[in-house]
């Protein structure tokens, strides 16, 4: 499974370049060429990171983030020129997490993307240790036992990733459904129970607590 990055950039060539590069580095890129498209994508898909150009058609990058921040705290990185760096200050106030100055190098972009993603798991490392020999790779979204990949379904990995982002926090069924099932799919609590069961069998029974009629909690 891959981390999903929303790319909002209206210049076609630059957009394609960044997309190709991020795909190459193992990320899934959701494209948006104006803020309306981006709003739609955010609404329909579960995005892990947003890369936002400031000067885009319809709402500009800041206005877009301001709108989005009402419903989600998905990390956001602005791509901006020095001319608009003053505005970035405003950007931080409305909830951007980082910015990158144009012209930039892909190497720099990758460093920032990686560090932002790790940040959402509250770690500096690529892999999070869950148990003595079980690690979760935040880049690839894969679970490893003694460096051997453990075969898990996409939704199971998504669920684990969600738990790792919010350790010790009670996650309601609603919150879990929102992340696991994208817009249009019918969530099923039966399937969710199966995923929980599978995860428990891998990382240990006590790691996921059931809070009756409310949801689950991952114990760190």
């Amino acid at each position: 499974m891959k981390q999903k990055i929303l790319l909002l950039e209206d210049d076609l060539e630059l957009h394609e370049t960044i997309k190709q590069f991020l795909n190459m580095k193992g990320y899934e890129v959701v494209s948006a060429f104006d803020s309306d498209e981006a709003l739609l994508e955010i609404y329909e898909k579960n995005i892990d990171l947003m890369l936002l150009d400031v000067k885009v058609p319809k709402l500009n990058g800041f206005e877009f983030l301001q709108r989005v921040r009402k419903t989600t705290d998905t990390p956001a990185i602005f791509i901006t020129s020095l001319n608009s760096i003053d505005d970035v200050e405003k950007g931080f106030e409305i909830g951007c997490d980082d910015y990158i100055k144009k012209p930039f190098s892909l190497k720099e972009l990758l460093i920032r993307v990686k560090s932002r993603i790790k940040n959402s798991y509250n770690t500096y490392k690529n892999r999070i240790e869950i148990d003595t020999n079980i690690e979760f790779d935040t880049d690839e979204l894969q679970l490893y036992r003694d460096n051997e990949k453990i075969a898990l379904k996409t939704k199971e990995l998504k669920l684990l990733s969600l738990f790792l982002k919010y350790p010790n926090k009670l996650l309601s069924y609603e919150e879990i459904f929102d992340v696991l099932w994208e817009y249009g799919d019918e969530p099923s609590s039966g399937s969710l129970r199966t995923y929980i069961k599978t995860l428990r069998s891998v990382i240990g029974k006590d790691r996921i607590e059931t809070i009756k009629n409310i949801g689950y909690r991952f114990v760190k």
């Binding site: 370049t17 190709q20 760096i85 012209p103």
Partner: protein, 381 residues
């Protein structure tokens, strides 16, 4: 208002105000002289009237032969009668001065000859202190007029000045806006070029055209560097600075690596002496402008196969390179905007200006020295 606009306005105002002041002062002084004469003449006229009164009194006395000699006195003026030899006969003077002994400064007087000599008097003298109150009033009025008109003209001049520099101001603003828009539009294509070169290298797509790719890379990095300089200048250094502790050592290494392709291209002999983990409180953009401009200059104005020495210590950053000797008088001007040591070589002449202004804003000292065949730039921090 920009400093050049202020300068233009001040120049215009001073020329305008000084010339109108001179004109006003001249006409006022002519007017003053004229009015003063007129006022004195008036005072003299009243004395003449008194003199004629005295004359008629004298005649009456002379004709009446009366025993009683009555002499008209007044507290406003002094009178006297003199004989033909200008000796004092009688009058309201306390002492009896001879005519030639009287001091007439600050006084108006009338000296009338008496014909025939009644009672032996040949002259009648009427003297009065000048009445300065009317003259002072005149002076006061003139000064008041000068002051008010000066104020009005200054105000008028200011508005006229603003009016005159308005087209210039518009032009400058338009040009600035144009530069900002241009740089902003350049932004995306430059990013696209740079990122795609990176992609080509990463994917090793241009194995057969590595030389060509290198040239494109150099050209696009030059473009990017020029772009950065222009944006920095057009913002006039007043964007929000994020001053934080920056690892200059690793940042410098990173920038040298960025310019490595330029260095290789000119076959320069690079020697680095970079102390590790040196931190400075500086905005990253500012640091990059200084380092990039110094490196770029040291490479650009170098000779093929020349040397490039970079040294970083806790106290200073020194970059020296092969170069023709730069004359001493040019060294001091080299840091000014649009100034180049050798105008036949390319460049805008904004690089060192940026370095200089960054140094000034952080209180760093910038030294540039040139010998027979090298140039050394040193920043003490």
């Amino acid at each position: 208002m920009s400093s050049s606009e202020k300068r233009s306005l001040v120049r215009f105002l001073s020329i305008y105000l000084i010339s109108s002041f001179v004109l006003f002062a001249l006409s006022s002084s002519i007017f003053y002289d004229f009015s003063k004469k007129h006022l004195l003449e008036q005072q003299r006229k009243s004395l003449e009237f008194e003199a004629s009164k005295l004359f008629s009194t004298l005649r009456k006395l002379h004709q009446s032969n009366s025993k009683e000699l009555y002499y008209p006195n007044s507290k406003f003026y002094k009178t006297a009668i003199y004989d033909i030899d200008k000796n004092y006969i009688f009058g309201s003077f306390e002492k009896a001065p001879k005519l030639k002994d009287i001091d007439f400064s600050n006084k108006v007087y009338v000296l009338q000859s008496v014909e025939p000599y009644y009672l032996g008097a040949a002259y009648i003298l009427v003297v009065k202190d000048i009445d300065f109150s009317s003259i002072n009033k005149l002076k006061k009025n003139i000064f008041l007029f000068m002051f008010v008109s000066g104020l009005l003209f200054a105000l008028l001049g200011y508005f006229l000045g603003r009016l005159f520099i308005a087209p210039m101001r518009e032009n400058v603003q338009m040009l600035n806006k144009f530069i900002q828009d241009t740089t902003h539009e350049l932004n995306t294509p430059i990013s696209t070029i740079l990122t795609n070169i990176e992609m080509m290298e990463e994917l090793q797509k241009c194995k057969d055209a590595s030389v060509e790719l290198k040239r494109v890379k150099i050209a696009s990095r030059t473009l990017s560097y020029i772009y950065d300089n222009i944006t920095y200048l057009s913002l006039n250094h007043n964007y929000h600075k994020d001053i934080q502790s920056l690892n200059i050592s690793s940042f410098l290494e990173e920038r040298v690596e960025y310019f490595q392709v330029f260095i290789d291209n000119k076959h320069l002999k690079l020697s680095k002496d970079i102390s590790s983990d040196i931190f400075k409180m500086i905005d990253k953009n500012d640091a990059q402008r200084v380092i990039d401009n110094l490196l770029s200059n040291a490479i650009k104005y170098n000779k093929l196969g020349g040397f490039l020495r970079i040294s970083l210590t806790d106290k200073s950053l020194t970059i020296s390179n092969t170069s023709d000797n730069i004359p001493r008088e040019k060294l001091s001007k080299i840091v000014e905007r649009f100034q180049r040591a050798n105008s036949s070589e390319g460049g805008f002449g904004i690089g060192l200006d940026i370095v200089n202004s960054v140094c000034k804003s952080y209180d760093f000292t910038l030294f540039i020295d040139s010998t027979e065949n090298s140039v050394k730039v040193e920043i003490l921090w």
